[in-house]
Amino acid sequence: MTTATARKIRVVVAKPGLDGHDRGAKIIARALRDAGMEVIYTGLHQTPEQIAETVIQEDADAVGLSILSGAHMTLVPKVVALLAEQGVDDVLVTVGGTIPADDIPELKKLGVAAVFTPGAGTDEIVDFIRAGATERHERGE
């Protein structure tokens, strides 16, 4: 991390959609915080518009979308499109939740960097976000 700025990595953990399953989101938020990152947890029932706005306002390096309602193929493309509309193309987007294997290639095609499904360890997720966000810092953003 020699070239990284002094600024902490900033991550938005977001719960789009209507499901109330926040166990995973909260565990990830806490693991990222314990790993020294600045974590903004949006809380539940967020619209894609609210999430995009939070990412931009917080100047986040990464956003983790947690979805367990089956609505990921509607909600993720919306968040990605809204970020692109605002000219944000360098934020690391990850998705976590009950995402069927068949949907993962399509999400990646949209620009989602990684999809974490049930059983993924927090260390793996923390490492992935740190690596991706550090790269963003090193590009001098």
């Binding site: 926040d22 565990i27 809380g43 539940l44 609505a71 009950t98 069927p100 049930p118 927090t122």
Partner: protein, 540 residues
Amino acid sequence: MAAEPGSKPEFMQRDAEFTTISGQEIDPLYTEEDLDPGLEDRVGEPGSYPFTRGPYPSMYRGRLWTMRQFAGFGTARETNERFHYLLDHGQTGLSTAFDMPTLMGYDSDHERSLGEVGREGVAVDSLDDMEQLFAGIPLGGVTTSMTINAPAAILLAYYVLVGESQGVPPEKLGGTIQTDILKEYIAQKEWCFPIEPAMRLVTDMIEWCTETMPRWHPVSISGYHIREAGSTAQQELAFTLKDGFTYVERAIERGMDVDDFAPRLSFFFNAHVDFFEEIAKYRAARRIWARELRDTYGAKREESMRLRFHTQTAGVSLTAQQPLNNIVRTSLEAMAAVLGGTQSLHTNSFDEALALPTEEAVRVALRTQQIIAAESGVTATADPLGGSWFVEKLTDEMEAAAYGYFERIDELGGMVEAIRRNFPQREIADASFVYQQELNERKRIVVGVNDFTQDDEEPTAILKIDPALEAEQVGRVRAMRAARDGAAVESALAELKGAAAGEGNLMPPILAAARARATEGEMIAAMQEVFGTYTESPVF
């Protein structure tokens, strides 16, 4: 390893964790010496106070538990087909899962419903959908459970009206509606209103059902979701019972006699994979409820003290890896529920860490219950584990842990205030984080996840919800709105809003609006104009 005479024997011990999944220390051996005096009074006999050994004298020898598989997806038509399938395969009760928009009080064509319609349950927007959901199922002959909370009064009204159209009056309808709003704020997080008006609606339903629906359970006080959100068994027990006491207090404050309504309160617990801890939890639950209802709330009838519960095996214990292993987990959990004395049971399907279950997976889950009932022999005698030193000790410890939490909640000013201060939410978040760390450190092993893993897994075929169903449902609710008497709906909604601003019971105006074919979303919106909405300040 010869022990000195008179000293405790030394035990050989593997390098492993000897605590329950909730972190409770377990001794290498339990004997009579471990138990406090007075065991006979604490344990009693099945069917008698304090009901530790079960709510009924003969338990499953008299009558098996109800096999009740939770089902719901797509539109009412798809779910109705699944209901018929389950009944045809020997299921004995129905249980309805609603989709997220229905749980949150949004109609299918609301912008917040986009992508969510029929995904995690069935979409029900109006009486039309409810009629289709129960088409061909005589409501006088089944009992139905409905998992809905913030909008529960509206769904109950629709159900009553479907019964009416079949010629079955409300007093003949049997079943349960969840209605447990406190655990929504604590754990499941599907809400429509702030806590106080939501509590008023719960009390309205208890009052109305006590007068009108004597065979109905107006509240199913639920620990299931608390556990799924990551709590320990002790937290599940304590928060659930405390929620129950809070409803009892509200109904008594309303002027009701505890013995009139308490017999119709029922419970819903999780069955996690730690076998004996779960059994102890159910036994402690019955004992605490009986004691508090009698001694604190002045109940005189035994029916008021007798805790009866539904169980669902733990969704959270299922793994996406090597999913067939979940059949074994579910069997162990179901067995714990049965040995703990459950009155009704849902067994999860092995593919549910991946998606909603396929028909095949649901059938195996139902067969699991049938095998326990017909083949295992555990149903032949009441409470086969009663008197086990280990089980009785765990039961006592479980009870003590619950009372510890009751004290802390009382110090905060009761459950509603504790929720406002995020107390149960924080306890659950902490417990779930600790558990995750234990998995990371491999202090606890989950087969297929952090040990005994397999890289070359064949993909599992999963249930796919046709995206066209959402458009179909949106079309359906719009067509229904266009066809109904708009003026009658407007006037019923105005009545409902007026009633919400007053103090009377809200069930009659909700029934009137349901009859006029007002949608769920319209009724919720009318009440929100008076009550407002709820936003949580999350803790993690």
